[in-house]
Amino acid sequence: MPEQTYLEAIRGGLHEEMSHDPSVYLFGEDVALGGPFGVTAGLAEAFGKNRVVNTPISEGTVMGLAIGAATAGLRPVVEIMFIDFITLAMDQLVNHAAKLHYMSGGQLKIPLTVRVQCGISGTMGAHHSQSLESWLAHVPGLKVVMASNPADAKGLLKAAIRDDNPVVFIEHRGLYWTRGQVPEGEYLVPIGKAVVAREGEDLTIVATAKMLAATLEAAEELSSNGISVEVIDPRTLSPLDVETIVSSVKKTSRLIIVHEAVEKDGIGAEIATQVQQEAFYYLDSPIARVAAPFAPVPASPALEKCFVPGKTEIIRAVRRALNR
């Protein structure tokens, strides 16, 4: 298996799907020039500017256009440069993409993929650092996936593009240059399936996107202190694979959820509720969350550093849950 960066794996997934299906089109700001991080570099050269389309800075209306194109035969992939700008397209996503299939009694299909990157990386301030996945996961009709490593980035993206529903594919900017093994060719990661990223006995941690790496590091450090942590990457937030999480909690009896989005009303709250419904009598300690404080992301590097949860906070939460 070749090693690739997360960014290359996304590009590879796009390339394969565009080769595989002529109805796949890319729309986004600067995409024909590679975009600000080079994710789409080379695609315009390979498939033509007719299929890799530079758009005006019009998130809302580009989303509307892509929804329309999706109802009428295309499989558009829209790139929203930062998740902070997806707010401009929320009406189109929430009121139209998410509901057209239902409102039309199942007649219309919206095979739309929204690629968007999120998160804190490089002290970019409050308009370029947010994690808004739980806004999206709250909307019936949207699917929401988050890749934590290169292989999943490729496999989930390919699955998203082939899905007949609007799928928001959330990348983390801080992972773009991380490396990992990526299966070649036809490799699909099913939407709606979590994965156990590390097996353990004493406690389960569910972690998303960039928090997975921090959690695995914490788990490694804890194992040398005799604490065995099981780590789960949900990979899809909606629909959520609660079964995988519940069966882990039934084994370990403890659960912590780690995400970079603000803690309040985050996806952790949903996971905690579903788990306590299914596994209340197995729990030996309260379900805990490790996440960002309830504030916009500050620009100052000093403040940003204490805003993002990391290994230290995770270890502290584990010790508190286990009381050791």
Partner: protein, 337 residues
């Protein structure tokens, strides 16, 4: 027109009414301050002392200065991700600017805003904004407030031509025109929406878009500070008298990358094009030449001005570098008023 003190000759730059020498030298100082500030920001970035990204304003100085010098301190502006020039032109202090860029406690926003979000109530700066087009509402709303309160304040909305892609701008311009709001939309057309040429994303004529709402519109050379200033004086005056909004479309160019990290640019714009603008259309150089040619200033005076500014910038950077970071418990403060 005014008489030049030195020569007694009448002075006039093409397309603008002549200004007195003090005012002209002030325009120069302000432009040079922005130029040297931004060069220093770039140095900080290259020396890994600057967190995040900075979108340098170098090349566009004549727009911010020409417009803001036509405003009163209590007039409003809103700015963009490329906002340092607007903030300084409206009167921001160098110390607090650098401190904010470095995320330090004495910065304008106590380090919470950073390069793309500097706001300064004292100079009427309602904030730089990293959402393209995001401040169209804020500026128009400030103008609405000025009108409702019966003040004669004016609001200026600075934005790049990339913001012409956002529907918000048009909906705001519609209301501004209907309700004759004292707002001036200043479109800084630096030819690129980030990396894509604006011609690839913008149909029709830029000016026609504002004209469609019955807004008074002018398209001008944004490299000529006297012209920008003269036009701004007229448009601001008009707005103050209740004659309604205006749209000032300034053709300009950013000399550096989209942001400090955008160094290799040949894949989206030609070196030759950059060189043309830098050598022939540098607003600071052009104005320095004009000042000398018209005997408003000699080389010695211009050098002296430059040295003064350079010294102040050095002091301000040192102030910022030595300033403390905010206390960590400030993270959760100021979320609500």
């Amino acid at each position: 027109m005014t008489q030049s003190k030195k020569t007694g000759r009448k002075q006039q730059s093409p397309g603008s009414s002549a200004l007195d020498r003090e005012r002209l030298l002030r325009l120069y100082r302000q432009m040079l301050k922005i130029r040297l500030f931004e060069e220093q920001v770039n140095q900080l970035y290259l020396g890994a002392k600057m967190p995040g990204l900075a979108h340098l304003y170098i090349g566009q100085e004549a727009v911010a200065v020409g417009v803001c010098e036509a405003l009163r301190r209590d007039d409003y502006i809103t700015s963009t991700h490329r906002g340092h020039g607007h903030c300084l032109a409206k009167g921001a202090s160098l110390d607090k600017m650098f401190a904010e860029l470095l995320g330090k406690a004495p910065g304008y926003c106590r380090g919470k805003g950073g390069s793309m979000h500097i706001a300064d109530q004292d100079t009427g700066n309602l904030g730089a904004n990293a959402i393209v087009g995001g401040s169209a509402g804020i500026a128009t709303g400030a103008a609405m407030s000025a009108k409702m309160r019966g003040s004669d304040q004016v609001a200026v909305c600075f934005f790049g031509e990339g913001a012409l892609g956002q529907g918000l701008l048009y909906e705001e311009m519609n209301m501004a025109s209907l309700w004759k709001l004292p707002v001036i939309y200043v479109c800084e057309n630096n030819q690129y929406n980030e990396y894509t040429s604006y011609r690839e994303t913008t149909a029709g004529e830029v000016a026609a878009r504002a004209e469609a709402f019955g807004i008074h519109t002018e398209t001008i050379d944004g490299q000529d500070v006297q012209l920008v200033h003269a036009k701004s004086l007229t448009l601001v005056e008009r707005a103050r008298r209740g004659k309604g909004p205006a749209f000032l479309h300034c053709n300009t160019y950013r000399f550096h990358g989209h942001h400090v990290g955008d160094v290799d640019r040949t894949y989206y714009r030609a070196k030759k094009e950059e060189e043309e603008w830098k050598s022939k259309r540098d607003p600071v150089k052009l104005f320095a030449e004009w000042l000398q040619k018209s005997e408003m200033a000699d080389g010695k005076l211009l050098d002296q001005i430059e040295n003064e500014i350079a010294t102040r910038i050095k002091e301000a950077v040192n102030f910022a570098l030595n300033a403390p970071y905010p206390e960590l418990d400030e993270v959760g403060q100021d979320v609500y008023a």
